[in-house]
Symmetry: C2
Subunit: 343 residues, 2 copies
Amino acid sequence: MGTRKIRNMEEFAAVSGISRPTVSKYFNDPDSVRRSTREKIEAALEENDYRPNIYAVNQNRKLTKNIGIVVPYLADPFFAEIARNIEQRCIDSGFRPTLFSSHGDPELEVEILDSLRSLKPAGVLFAPLGRASDRSVIEKFCADVPTVLFDSNLEGMGEAFIGSDNHSFVSQTVDYLSRTGEAPCFFEMRTPANPNANKRRDAYLQMMAKIGLEPNVFKIDGTGWAFEEIGRQGGLKLLAEKAFPTDTVLCSNDRLAIGFLAACYEMGLKVGRHDGSDLRVASHDDHPFSRFTCPSLTTAAHDYMAVSDRSVETVMQLIESGGRLDKRTETLFAARLIMRDSA
Amino acid sequence: MGTRKIRNMEEFAAVSGISRPTVSKYFNDPDSVRRSTREKIEAALEENDYRPNIYAVNQNRKLTKNIGIVVPYLADPFFAEIARNIEQRCIDSGFRPTLFSSHGDPELEVEILDSLRSLKPAGVLFAPLGRASDRSVIEKFCADVPTVLFDSNLEGMGEAFIGSDNHSFVSQTVDYLSRTGEAPCFFEMRTPANPNANKRRDAYLQMMAKIGLEPNVFKIDGTGWAFEEIGRQGGLKLLAEKAFPTDTVLCSNDRLAIGFLAACYEMGLKVGRHDGSDLRVASHDDHPFSRFTCPSLTTAAHDYMAVSDRSVETVMQLIESGGRLDKRTETLFAARLIMRDSA
DNA sequence: ATAAAAAATTTACGCGCGTAAAGTTTTTCC
DNA sequence: GGAAAAACTTTACGCGCGTAAATTTTTTAT
């Protein structure tokens, strides 16, 4: 092991006693060489710390082993968690994931896609900003780079979409709330950041119609990704106006709900499902912090694992099929109701 | 613009009417070529969408334009925010940042450093896990790759450290709390994840001695990075035992405090600085969610911007000086007290 | 205008590796 | 044991670009 530093594959091949082309073959797929050969190479690998130069490798390989992961807003722990799962699964499959966050900024999203192009990734897992996204740019990107969309769907773009079934979220919360108390009012942003919000509102209207209750949708102002503050401001305003006709508020998502709960607290309202409470609040997403709100938040949980697992599976399939799939599939996973103290 | 797709710099040089070596020079530094030449190249760039192949570029360049950013736990919005700032500043300086999260796992941290090596980055901005980090691996890494540590210091490692002045956090909160009510008890993990926690406890003890009050440190069990749950469990236990001799609890950090507030709520205790409250709770970090807790959390804020700005400035200096600095500097930024409703 | 300086061009090589083709050795199998 | 198959070695080329050296052109300065 006291040998000098290995500078390239040529030198490493020499010390391992195997020819360079065979060593190259080994690094591309260790099982493609004879067992005895593999053992020699791996023995040499123990003694010397050589690793192929990824730049030289990627320059010559038709397809890199890179996978791009793009999320809209990494400061949202929901995306941090899902990105973490996806990252790990990609590594386990022998790929090199690179994580990007658009930070809620459509221009940054475009820049990321641009920079992703030059990475020549084998595949991309992309959760777009949604409404604010530059659709034409994304369309071109998807045409050039094998892409799987997740979390937020853009009609017809990418080779597949994997996400959560918004209807399943809302039907469970509305059903639960209406069975156990007054009918829920729906609390959302007037101009929601992504299409999931619209699906949730529609599901709410549909559910209320189905069970024969009067729907009440409250749309609050505010743009951007600072959902908590938007929820808080909107909540303060509506609560001051005593706008809610029932004692139950269903928020479009947990981050909005976190802000709304802060507003309730500031207004001196007691939130909860127990006697003596002024208001029930529920929501959707099962945000990592939702169990630490006061009171803990009743919500509907994403199947994080299913979404990230299936997304990675799909992009792997996509890569194996050479970058195109026969037809664009949309996979939605159902939600799970999480009953806590707020409703 | 109707020309065929440009395949390499040779072809691009042809359509721009400039020789390839000069075009290469341009891409390395647009200001290194004559104005008229730059304009010709940029005109051609408008018409054709050519970008140098980064793999070929990085293979030949002695130093890449890559910068690695490593944070211990991206699901913590604090790190997500600081990473975002650092990313942007790197881009503005003409570098390509790549973000990694150790997700609280020391083995993953080692893998990341390993994979970072092969990226041959010009510089690395590294916030280590802390106590759990494999110090010998990190030491070797820092010896090979120009690295600036931030947030969490490891004695002597890296070319510089930039972080927050823990004493400044604690002195401000202790001073404020002791002036406005009963003496604060200190609430922390028994085996904290990083060295900042130890510095904060020491600062607490020192402050209490200075102002002549009896210190009360409560150490709770739990390992890992699920601080909220650890704080909640520890809080439930201590509150049930009525362990706190005063009505004021100072948490080591906001995530612990968020869990502690949940515990208080569950125990039916009213937290706040107003009359009729049972307990005052304060903390440190100004976590992005701390203004949405119920009640909103009185805390001491990091100077996010200063830390991220200075970190990037330092790594740029480091790169310019060829990867080594004359002497290792430690820069600490003071905290700012944020008075909210919890104390 | 002329010399000196600056910038661009031409030519050429090398980076580290993928990969193809032809030849050689080893393994497998009846 | 012998032939076919499999795996390996040798040789060679190319990927796209950085970069050096020598030469030519353009700009700047006197």
